[in-house]
C-alpha cells in the first residue's frame, strides 16, 4: 500500500484535532498508509508572515528534520501547504518537499467520498493562500458535491475572511468586519473550509456574534457538514 506523511499543522494538532483525525481517515479510505512523523511541530508561518525570519527559520528547520523526502506530505491546511511548499525551502535553504493540500491530494488519487451530505446546503470558503498561491479551488468543491452536498456560492467568493494570521489581532475591528461579511454571505448555509486559520476565526466570530456553523472539509466528508 502506498504511504503518505500526515502534517497535522500546529493549529490542527492543538485546536482542530478531530479534523486532523478525519483527514487521516480520508487518506486511509483513499488507500494510503498514513505515517505521522512524531517530531513535527509547525512550518514557521506565523513568524514568517510577521517578518520574523530568524524565528521562522528556527521552527522551519524542525519541519525539515521531521519529514522525509521519500513520501509525499499531505496537510489539511491550505496556508500551511503554501508555506511548506512555496516559502519554506527558500527560507531554510533546502530542496523543495512534495507537499499536498488534502483535497488536492484526494482528488488526484481519485478518491470518492461517502454520501454524507445528501441534501445539505453548504458554502465553501476558499482560503486566500489555497485559492491564489496553490490554485486549488475546484477540488474541495468536487469532493463536497460527490458527498451529496448542494453548493451555494458566496455573494463575493473572492473576499478574504479577515483572518490573515497576526492581522486578526493587530487590526481586530477590520478583521471581524470582514468575518461578518463572510458569515452573512453564506446565506444561512453551513460554511466548509480547508484552512484551520480561517475556520478558527470564522467560528470564533460566529460563536460571539452569531452566524452559521463552520466546519473543516475533512470533517464534512467523514461525518457531515453539520460536524
Amino acid at each position: 500500500m502506498p504511504s503518505v506523511q500526515l502534517f497535522a499543522t500546529c493549529l490542527g494538532d492543538l485546536v482542530l484535532p478531530e479534523a486532523v483525525a478525519d483527514a487521516e481517515t480520508l487518506l486511509r479510505r483513499a488507500g494510503f498508509d498514513v505515517v505521522f512523523p512524531r517530531r513535527q511541530v509547525c512550518c514557521g508561518q506565523p513568524a514568517f508572515n510577521s517578518g520574523h525570519h530568524a524565528a521562522a527559520r528556527r521552527v522551519a528547520r524542525g519541519f525539515v528534520r521531521a519529514f522525509s523526502r521519500e513520501l509525499p506530505i499531505v496537510c489539511p491546511s491550505g496556508s500551511c501547504a503554501t508555506m511548506a511548499s512555496h516559502y519554506l525551502p527558500e527560507l531554510v535553504g533546502v530542496e523543495p518537499f512534495e507537499v499536498w493540500e488534502l483535497s488536492a491530494f484526494l482528488v488526484h488519487a481519485g478518491f470518492r467520498p461517502l454520501p454524507r451530505n445528501t441534501g445539505r446546503r453548504v458554502a465553501y470558503h476558499d482560503s486566500c493562500h489555497m485559492l491564489r498561491e496553490l490554485n486549488v479551488s475546484a477540488q474541495p468543491r468536487k469532493l463536497l458535491r460527490a458527498s451529496g452536498a448542494e453548493l451555494v456560492s458566496f455573494s463575493r467568493p473572492d473576499l478574504c475572511c479577515g483572518f490573515g494570521g497576526t492581522f486578526s489581532v493587530r487590526q481586530p475591528e477590520v478583521s471581524v468586519a470582514m468575518a461578518d461579511e463572510k458569515l452573512a454571505g453564506a446565506g444561512g448555509a453551513t460554511i466548509v473550509t480547508s484552512d484551520p486559520g480561517c475556520l478558527m476565526h470564522l467560528r470564533g466570530r460566529a460563536e460571539r456574534a452569531g452566524g452559521p456553523d463552520v466546519v473543516h472539509l475533512a470533517t464534512a466528508l467523514v461525518r457531515s457538514a453539520s460536524g
Binding site: D13, P17, P46, S168, G204
Partner: protein, 457 residues
C-alpha cells in the same frame, strides 16, 4: 505639505471611525464593487490580457532599470520642443518651483486638473502662500476641496461621498438648493468651473505617462478638464513622479490599453491628451509656456532590490477596488494621498518604515491586489518583504521580537512544543486577558485547547 509619514495608531483609529459609519460602508462597498466588476468585464473582453500585462510589466521595468537615462532623454526631447523641465529632489523643491512660476506671472488663479503628485507635495498650500488661489477642476477633487478633505481613492477621490453630500456642498457654493441628481449636480459644477477655466492665469495638471523618446506628456481624463486646463491658460505646469516615463509612443499604447480598463473598466478614458511642448509659432492653441516638474521625493529609495517593482505602478486603482481591507477602512486610514495596497507598499518606502510602521501590516496578505495589478506588481509579497524589514531595521516592537524569539526557541524542538502547549492549555482561563489573546477574545470566542491530536493517535 501633505504628511506622508503616518503615526502607528492612525490606521486603526481611522478604520474604527469608518467602520462605525454605515453610510460610508455602503458607499465603499458599492463603488469598489462597481469599479471591480467593470475591470473584470473589460479584462475579459481583451483576449490577450495576460500577455499584455506581462508586456506592460516589461516596459515599466525597462524604464526603471535605466531611470536616469530616461529622465535625460525626456528632458532633452522636451527642451528641444521649447518646454522647461525641472527636476525636483523633494516636495519642497517642487512646490517652490511651481510657486515661483506663479509669482513671476503674477498669477491670481490656478486651475488644476487631478494630480496625486500635487497632493503628495501639498501644492495648493504652497500656492496660497504666494497669493495664487488653486481651484480643483476634477469633479471629485472639486467636491473634496469644497469639503476641505483629502482624496480617499487615487482614481475616484470622492468615493465615500454620496449624491446627497455633493448636493449639500454645491448648494452652499451656488447659494441655492441643488437637488441630489447627477445631471443637476454636474451642471452646477460645470457652471461654477467654467469661470475658472476661462480666468485662470496658470493651468496645473498631473501626468499619466511621459514619453522619453518624444518629450510628450499624456493626460487621461473623463471630464475634459485636463484638456481645458492645459490649453486655455497662458502657462501650463505639469507635475509628474519621475517613474511616469515610458520609452516610446508604441509602449504608451500598451499601457493605455490597460490603464482605463483596470481603473474604471473603460477601453480608454473619454479624453486622452498627448502634449509635446508649448504652442509654436503659427499654432492657435496651447500655452505660451510649458513647465514639467519631475519629482523624486523618495522615489530613488525604491531603486534598491525588489522594491523597484513598485515604481512600475501606473496608479489605476485596481488594487484598491479589490482589497477587502480598503473596502472596510476607506483611504484616509492609510494617508491623505495614497491608500489601499499600493499606498501600503509605497508610503513606507517613500518616507522610511519607522515613519509608517503600521502600513505593512494593514493587510491580510490575501493577494487579491497582486491578482488585479495590470502591471503585475507582486504587492502582497512586497508587503511581506516590508514586514521582514520592520524586524530587521528594529522598527518592530521589543515585545513582539521577544515573543517570537521565545516562541521559536520552544517550537524548534518537539519537547519545547509539548511543554509550551501544555502550559497554554493550563493557562486557558487567562488567555483572553493579555496581549494578542485579549485582542482576539474581545471580538471572537477563543478556541478551546483539548487533547492534542498527537496524543490521541
Amino acid at each position: 505639505m501633505a504628511e506622508l509619514a503616518q503615526p502607528p495608531r492612525r490606521f486603526r483609529e481611522i478604520a474604527r471611525v469608518k467602520l462605525a459609519d454605515a453610510h460610508i460602508q455602503t458607499a465603499l462597498d458599492d463603488s469598489t464593487d462597481r469599479l471591480r466588476t467593470h475591470r473584470l468585464h473589460a479584462w475579459s473582453d481583451l483576449p490577450e490580457v495576460q500577455e499584455l500585462r506581462q508586456r506592460a510589466h516589461e516596459i515599466r521595468m525597462s524604464v526603471i532599470d535605466d531611470l536616469d537615462g530616461h529622465v535625460e532623454r525626456f528632458t532633452a526631447a522636451l527642451s528641444a520642443r521649447g518646454g522647461n523641465v525641472y527636476f525636483a529632489r523633494t516636495a519642497e523643491e517642487a512646490s517652490e518651483y511651481v510657486a515661483n512660476v506663479c509669482r513671476r506671472r503674477g498669477a491670481k488663479l490656478a486651475a488644476k486638473s487631478k494630480s496625486m503628485v500635487s497632493e503628495e507635495i501639498g501644492l495648493n498650500q504652497a500656492l496660497e502662500a504666494v497669493g495664487t488661489q488653486a481651484i480643483e477642476t476634477d469633479l471629485g477633487e472639486y467636491i473634496l476641496q469644497l469639503a476641505g478633505e483629502h482624496p480617499v481613492h487615487i482614481v475616484a477621490p470622492a468615493i465615500e461621498k454620496t449624491a446627497e453630500d455633493v448636493a449639500e456642498l454645491l448648494s452652499a457654493v451656488r447659494g441655492k438648493r441643488i437637488p441630489p441628481h447627477l445631471e443637476e449636480l454636474t451642471n452646477a459644477a460645470r457652471t461654477q468651473l467654467r469661470e475658472t477655466f476661462l480666468n485662470a492665469d496658470v493651468g496645473i495638471t498631473g501626468v499619466n505617462f511621459a514619453v522619453s523618446e518624444t518629450g510628450s506628456i499624456c493626460l487621461c481624463t473623463n471630464e475634459g478638464n485636463g484638456r481645458l486646463v492645459s490649453s486655455i491658460p497662458p502657462v501650463h505646469v505639469a507635475i509628474m513622479g519621475m517613474e511616469r516615463l515610458v520609452p516610446t509612443t508604441a509602449d504608451l499604447a500598451v499601457l493605455l490599453k490597460l490603464l482605463a480598463r483596470s481603473g474604471t473598466g473603460q477601453k480608454l478614458t473619454v479624453y486622452t491628451t498627448l502634449l509635446t511642448g508649448p504652442r509654436r509659432a503659427g499654432e492657435t492653441d496651447g500655452p505660451e509656456e510649458l513647465h514639467v516638474v519631475i519629482l523624486d521625493n523618495g522615489r530613488t529609495n525604491l531603486l534598491r532590490g525588489r522594491y523597484r517593482e513598485m515604481l512600475a505602478c501606473i496608479r489605476c486603482g485596481a488594487c484598491l477596488n479589490v482589497c477587502p481591507v480598503y473596502r472596510k477602512t476607506g483611504g484616509a486610514a492609510y494617508s491623505d494621498v495614497y491608500s489601499g495596497p499600493m499606498g501600503a507598499v509605497l508610503l513606507p518606502l517613500l518616507v522610511g518604515l519607522q515613519h509608517a510602521p503600521s502600513l505593512p501590516h494593514a493587510s491580510s496578505l490575501c493577494g487579491a491586489c497582486t491578482e488585479a495589478c495590470p502591471v503585475k506588481i507582486p504587492l502582497h509579497e512586497l508587503l511581506l518583504d516590508l514586514r521582514r524589514d520592520l524586524v530587521a531595521e528594529g522598527v518592530a516592537s521589543w515585545a513582539e521580537r521577544v515573543s517570537f524569539w521565545l516562541w521559536s526557541w520552544a517550537w524548534s524542538r518537539p519537547f519545547g512544543y509539548r511543554a509550551s502547549t501544555a502550559l497554554a492549555r493550563l493557562g486557558q482561563p487567562l488567555a483572553g486577558l493579555v496581549g494578542p489573546g485579549r485582542a482576539w477574545a474581545r471580538v471572537r470566542a477563543l478556541p478551546r485547547l483539548g487533547r492534542r491530536y498527537r496524543d490521541r493517535r
